[in-house]
Amino acid sequence: MTAAARALARRVVADGRTRTVSFAALFLLVTWVNAAGYRSTYPNINDRLRLVQTFGNNKAARMFYGAGRNLTTVGGYTAWRAGGILVVFAALLGIFAATRPMRGDEEAGRTEIVLAGRLTRNTEFAAILAGTGVGLTVAFVATALGAVFASLPLRPSLYLGLVVFSVGAVYVGVAAAANQLAPTRRGALGLASAVLGVDFLIRVVADTTDHFGLHWLTPLGWAEETRAFSGSSAFVLVLPLAATAILLAAATMLHARRDLGAAYLPARDSAPPRTRLLVTPATLALRLDRVVVATWTGVILAFALVVGSIAKTVEDIDLPESARNQIAKLGGIDITKASGYIGLTFVIFVFAITVFVCGQRAAAHDEETEHRLETLFALPFGRDPWMRGRALLALAGIASCALAAGIGVWAGAVASRAHLSFVDGMRASVNVLPTAILFLGLGLALFATFPRRAISLLYALVVASFVWELFGALLDVPSWALDLSPFHHVAPVPAKPIDIASALVMLAIGAIAGAIGTVRFRARDLAGD
């Protein structure tokens, strides 16, 4: 590489350092907590066998993590629970890491400046990929280190890291291609995320309906077939390798043949005026974000339908008495009933909807960093109504997604003749709201207090809380520590009634944080250059 290309690659690494470090911490912690926690929570073979009988074969668990193998060993369990979720995060890392320096910089006009120098377009493209690869490699090392720190052997630990890396690499390829197709970073993100959504959906169907042949169709399925800590089918890694190579070659070719700033998907640059919803900044935001809200609602509806329709297969499981007793200890939830299974699964919808909230706050934040708020607040329009309008829009989106989740599981359950009433579905929907509103309020307070870091902080808070809820119980920590995660207070509705006290506390904290945010935003300077 030339000096200029090296400088660009370094720039990409530096720009992505916050993202790389956060993801690396996540990868390391999730792997370590699972391996170390499993060893201490399930010390002997009897405990482990019971776990396999109950949780290991549970379809809800399979939906999250895939179908596990060798779950009576620390490695097998780690590959299942940590690996199963980290491959999804690796895909997200790959998508973020590739869209930002490629389409993002191009859209912002920075690529033009770079290309005015001595770099050719192919070198520039390769340099960005090299920078992106550094970020992914850090994730690979972090995963392997997490396993090694928990005293797992080195070689299979490295292999697990490699599996995680391979999924990230495929999605760098997917995002690189999406960058050629879509004219905006947001569009490219949407395209690549849609691919990941379909990938995940196929994997879920494969693992919950025992159609494991479907694994061979998608990167997440390949990751499962690599069998880390269960005999390692290393030849499977040829598939992600080939897919990455093909996607990157296609992206390079498409990139070299197009005009800078242009894209292969047609961008309509003119349109007859439509004045609908051009009334207030809030209605404008609704108009600009309606596709995003509709997409989230649609995707959540689709997943909820899948969850609902799997519910029946849970009811058909014939568990031995001992296993039933064991499950009863989980808190009196019968996971062999549709409502029990759906109650335990619903927390993933709660999580998804809080991520939607983060996206809403990010869109509001962009209004400020891209100086459109300056344009807006120079008009006779105040900061309070802007904050209010944005919050209302997010609330409407939350309601829409929550409703889709409830209706989806109900419709899916009814279609497969499982026992779930419409009211049960609606109760599950309502149960999403307090957590989502809590994080919305926290997002408003962060926005007003730390204008630069607000969005990364909010994402970090949401992901950390969720990961803590998933894996914190494996560690020998006092219960107040587990109580720190808001997700810990989400009752498994409809198996249990809504936890009114927790809901009220979360709503109150959300409302107070939102009020603090509104007051503080009144008093601060708008972001300038």
Binding site: P273, T280, P281, L288, E370, T375, L526, G528
Partner: protein, 298 residues
């Protein structure tokens, strides 16, 4: 009636950086005020304080008597603003953007807006993301002027405009002027300020270093007098209020501050073949405030 713009000891610091220091401005209704200064002098910071976007560290800014920080919404009902860097919604078309801005402002002069659209040669169906900076700037111009607001705050409004559009801009400012609207024009294009403004303030490192009508600024500053002599130029040192530098083979260029009488009396005894006097241009005044020559003597 309250002034369109008034700042009292306006000061804005960002951490240790003093962006604006002790600024006193008063701009009457109907006045066109030129706010001059190089990049980084504090022009945009001043405007952000005037618009209530940034909070003054001390002092205050009012628009038509209304505090800009405490009650920006009330203040902005009579104000339209053009930002130096147009920040609009990329997916809206020009027509949609104007419709939205007009509605949030609370109604604009539709007829005038149609005229302006024609004058600035705007394609209403183009999306903002497909527009060059100059064309996005024109959207802001059309919106701001079509509000007929009592005060227009313009931050380098012609950056990115071509010369034809610059002419259209001047025409529009003059219309606003004859309409009785006040204009606060921040700029570093001196010819523009010279052509449009009744009064000028010069900002340097956050402080107002000079202010007045163009006439008074000129009067206060040295005029330039070029003198050509028959044969070799004489030595003319020590003339009160005048300094000279050689000009060509047999000429001298004088800079005269104050009355020119003493110089003329000295020249009367020399063989002068030509004499040309002119007032300083705004550029010369401006450069004198920033030039190295001025640093010591003030």
């Amino acid at each position: 009636m309250a002034e369109a713009v008034r700042t009292v000891a306006l000061t804005k610091r960002y951490g240790p950086t003093r962006a604006v220091e002790d600024l006193d401005l008063a701009i009457d209704a109907g006045e066109v005020y030129g706010f001059l200064g190089p990049n980084g002098a504090g022009k945009t910071t001043t405007i952000r304080c005037l618009l209530g976007l940034h909070r003054p560290t001390s002092g205050r800014a009012t628009l038509f008597g209304i505090d800009a920080w405490r009650d920006p919404v009330a203040a902005h009902r009579r104000v339209a603003y053009i930002a130096g860097e147009p920040s609009l919604w990329p997916s809206l078309t020009t027509a949609e953007t104007l419709e939205f801005l007009g509605r949030v402002f609370g109604g604009v002069d539709i007829e005038y807006r149609a005229r302006l659209l024609e004058r600035f040669q705007i394609e209403p169906d183009k999306k903002v993301r497909a527009l060059s900076k100059g064309n996005r700037q024109k959207i802001q111009l059309v919106h701001a002027f079509s509000t007929r607001a009592d005060l227009l705050i313009l931050d380098e409004p012609t950056s990115g405009l071509d010369p034809l559009m610059e002419v259209a801009f001047r025409e529009t400012v003059n219309e606003a002027k004859s309409n009785g609207q006040a204009v606060f024009l921040s700029s570093h294009i001196l010819s523009e300020v010279e052509a449009l403004c009744d009064r000028v303030g010069i900002l340097r490192a956050g402080r107002l270093v000079d202010e007045g009508t163009l006439e008074s600024l000129r009067h206060l500053h040295a005029q330039t007098i070029d003198v050509t002599f028959d044969g070799t130029r004489p030595s003319l040192n020590g003339v009160e209020g005048a300094t000279s530098v050689p000009l060509g083979a047999n000429g001298l260029r004088f800079q005269v501050t104050g009355p020119v009488g003493p110089l003329l009396r000295r020249l009367a005894s020399e063989n002068v073949t030509a004499l040309e006097a002119r007032e300083p241009s705004l550029e010369e005044i401006f450069l004198r405030h920033y030039g190295t020559a001025d640093d010591g003597s003030g």
